[in-house]
Every structure is written in structure tokens, then in C-alpha cells.
């Protein structure tokens, strides 16, 4: 490179510097713009609750959460049942929440949905879903069917539309 070439760089230094700053800034701005509304409307900010702790969430007190392994009549071979008990003390506005999912910490990070079909005896006092009409504290008891080789620890993910993007992630170790 000779004189004319470095001259070009120098005379365009300001423009090139602006380019280096603005291109990543544009990318960041566009990404934030597109993703912020999605992330605001979905459970994206976890509030971790350690085993035995309680938490104020959407006006209700959630926790403590515990889990244990169980055996149920209709479960197939090679599986285990994780029964999660989560105490919910509804606050002033009722708590409408989606039925919590069980998430594996680490490993493949698998997620399970609550399973009602495992042959458990019908118990009228057992709550298996978030009850928006309850005013007294109650226990959510949920069964999850997991493969035998899964041992935890897990998190139980609970969210309610009014408190998004924050959601409760209660750690349980059966």
C-alpha cells in the first residue's frame, strides 16, 4: 500500500468509525425491539425459590414446595412418579395460574406436564390445578410421570398471566 491508500483511510476515518459503532448498535436495537415484546409476554424471568422457602408472587404466597417419588397403579414399566406438593396461599386478587410444569435442572433440561391418568384414587380434597376461586391456603398436589433414570433436582415452574414476565421456579429434590 502506498500513500494514496492510507490517505483514503485517514480521510474516511470518521465515517468508518461511525460504521463500526452503528452497525452493532442497529443490530442490537432491532433485536431488542423484536424480542422485548415477546419476552414481556411470556415467562422469561425466573424467581428461584429454594426448597422450604416461600415467596410472594402476584399477591399470593407460594411455597414451600416439596417432591417425592411415588408408585401408582397405571404407570408403565421403566417409569417413576414424582409427586409435587406446592402450598398456595391466595392473596386478594385470585390467583389464576397455569398448571405447573416440572423442569429438569441440567442434563437434557426436559419438561414434564402434570399427569392425571395414572390410576390414583379419586380424592375430592386433592387439588390438581390452580383454583382461582379458592380463598384459603391449599396444597397443589401434582403427579409427573418421568423415566426411571431421572432423579432430580427439578424446578416447578408456575406462572400467572398478570405477573408475567416473572415466574416462580421452585427447586425441589425428591
Amino acid at each position: 500500500m502506498g500513500e494514496p491508500v492510507t490517505g483514503w483511510w485517514r480521510s474516511n476515518a470518521v465515517a468508518l468509525g461511525a460504521l463500526v459503532v452503528l452497525v452493532p448498535a442497529t443490530y442490537a436495537a432491532l433485536t431488542w425491539n423484536e424480542w422485548s415484546s415477546v419476552l414481556q409476554g411470556s415467562p422469561s424471568q425466573a424467581i428461584t425459590v429454594e426448597p422450604g422457602d416461600t415467596l410472594e408472587y402476584a399477591g399470593a404466597t407460594v411455597g414451600p414446595a416439596s417432591a417425592e417419588f411415588a408408585e401408582l397403579p397405571s404407570q408403565p414399566q421403566g417409569s417413576r412418579v414424582v409427586t409435587v406438593t406446592l402450598r398456595i396461599d391466595p392473596g386478594d386478587p385470585e390467583l389464576h395460574c397455569t398448571t405447573p410444569e416440572l423442569h429438569e435442572i441440567g442434563g437434557l433440561q426436559r419438561q414434564w406436564d402434570a399427569n392425571d391418568d395414572l390410576g390414583r384414587e379419586w380424592d375430592a380434597d386433592r387439588r390438581t390445578f390452580c383454583d382461582p376461586e379458592a380463598t384459603a391456603p391449599y396444597d397443589l398436589v401434582l403427579d409427573y410421570l418421568v423415566p426411571e433414570d431421572v432423579s432430580g433436582p427439578f424446578t416447578v415452574k408456575l406462572s400467572t398471566p398478570s405477573a408475567l414476565p416473572a415466574f416462580v421456579s421452585a427447586v425441589v429434590e425428591p
Binding site: P4, P76, Q77, G78, E101, R110, Q111, D113, P147, D149
Partner: protein
């Protein structure tokens, strides 16, 4: 830059930089070469269909095929002129497949929503007439469910190259799709067959 090469360069310094200018033939060649390279680049760039194609996982009867969130083991494939499932029966040119299916990562929204068969360009979907895995409900992680799929084929279709596609969503873009390839003429034929009841593979 001005064509300084046209005038005799008087300063003895660097006659080369002052006279640097591509001769016309070189400029044209480079230009044409760029156009040809661009043409090839356009040819090679995948179109939308290719860029959004599903990731196919080939399957063989008897072996497990693993996709991202779907694991399928085909256990049997056969043709029959009469099929029954529970109390339902029907006659025709039926193709029945038995399989075990499980999911891998999540349970939410995992059912065999895409069950299509392609034979020599003609597409069929799994029949919704009998109870089958075609609307068999959610799959469980790591715990296989077994069941059957039945396809109703036109009378007289006895041969051709077939592909059975299984996926978790009707839109198969960019996710795993389990594909079983077979030759229709080589599939064993029976007079009457029964579909498996959908349930746990290992109850």
C-alpha cells in the same frame, strides 16, 4: 484518479503507484468473472423450500429412529384388504404400520400431528376413521407409547416407492421428521388385520 500514466511521470519516485490503473482487458475480465461467480452463487443458494426443509431421520423397521423431540421404532408394516380396530372394520386397500413413539425433551404439544404417506408423488394422510395413533394424544418423555397407523389407498395401487413421514407438527419446517422408505410391492399382504390399541408399549 486521474490518468497520470498518460503524461510522462517526471518525479523519479514510484512510477508504479502513480501509473496504477488496470488495463481495459483486465477490468473487463474481472467484471465478467464477478458476474459469473455471482451467477453460480445464486444457483447454489437454497430456495425457501430447501432452506426451511425438515431434518429427515431415516428409519428402518425394527430399529429406533431418533429425532430432536421424537423417537420412533416401527415394529411392523403390512397391507390388508380388511382392517379392524375395536368394533370398527372396513374393507379396501389398506396399509397398516405398527410403531412405538416417545418424545425426548417436552411433553407439551407432542403428538403425531403429521402422519403422511407419499407413494410416487401422491400423498395420503393416516385415516382418522379408526382409533389410531393419528389422533392418539400426547407422547411421554422416555416412555414409549405403541399404536398403529392405517392408510387407505386406492384400489389397484400395488407398487411404487413409498415414504412414510412422521412429525410432531403439521408444519414440518426445520424440525425432525422420521421417514420410513419402502417399496409398496414388497410389503407383505394379509387378508385381515387388526390395529394395535393405543397404549403403553411396556405397561
Amino acid at each position: 484518479m486521474k490518468a497520470e500514466a498518460a503524461t510522462a511521470p517526471t518525479p523519479p519516485v514510484a512510477a508504479a503507484p502513480a501509473g496504477r490503473r488496470l488495463p481495459p482487458w483486465a477490468a473487463w475480465t474481472i467484471g465478467v468473472a464477478c458476474i459469473v461467480a455471482a451467477w453460480f452463487a445464486a444457483l447454489v443458494t437454497p430456495g425457501t423450500e430447501q432452506a426451511q426443509a425438515p431434518f429427515e431421520v431415516p428409519a428402518v423397521v425394527g430399529e429406533t429412529a431418533t429425532g430432536r423431540n421424537l423417537v420412533v421404532t416401527f415394529t411392523d408394516i403390512r397391507r390388508a384388504s380388511e382392517v379392524s380396530a375395536g368394533g370398527w372394520t372396513a374393507e379396501g386397500n389398506w396399509l397398516v404400520v405398527n410403531l412405538d413413539a416417545e418424545s425426548v425433551l417436552t411433553e407439551f404439544g407432542t403428538s403425531l400431528a403429521h402422519t403422511e404417506l407419499e407413494i410416487d408423488g401422491v400423498r395420503f394422510t393416516a385415516s382418522e376413521r379408526p382409533d389410531s395413533l393419528a389422533e392418539g394424544g400426547a407422547l411421554a418423555i422416555g416412555l414409549p407409547r405403541e399404536g398403529s397407523l392405517a392408510f387407505e389407498l386406492p384400489e389397484g395401487l400395488d407398487a411404487g416407492e413409498g415414504r412414510l413421514e412422521l412429525a410432531l407438527t403439521p408444519d414440518t419446517s426445520l424440525d425432525s421428521m422420521i421417514v420410513l422408505s419402502f417399496s409398496l410391492g414388497e410389503v407383505p399382504t394379509v387378508d385381515q388385520t387388526e390395529l394395535l390399541t393405543t397404549g403403553w408399549a411396556n405397561p
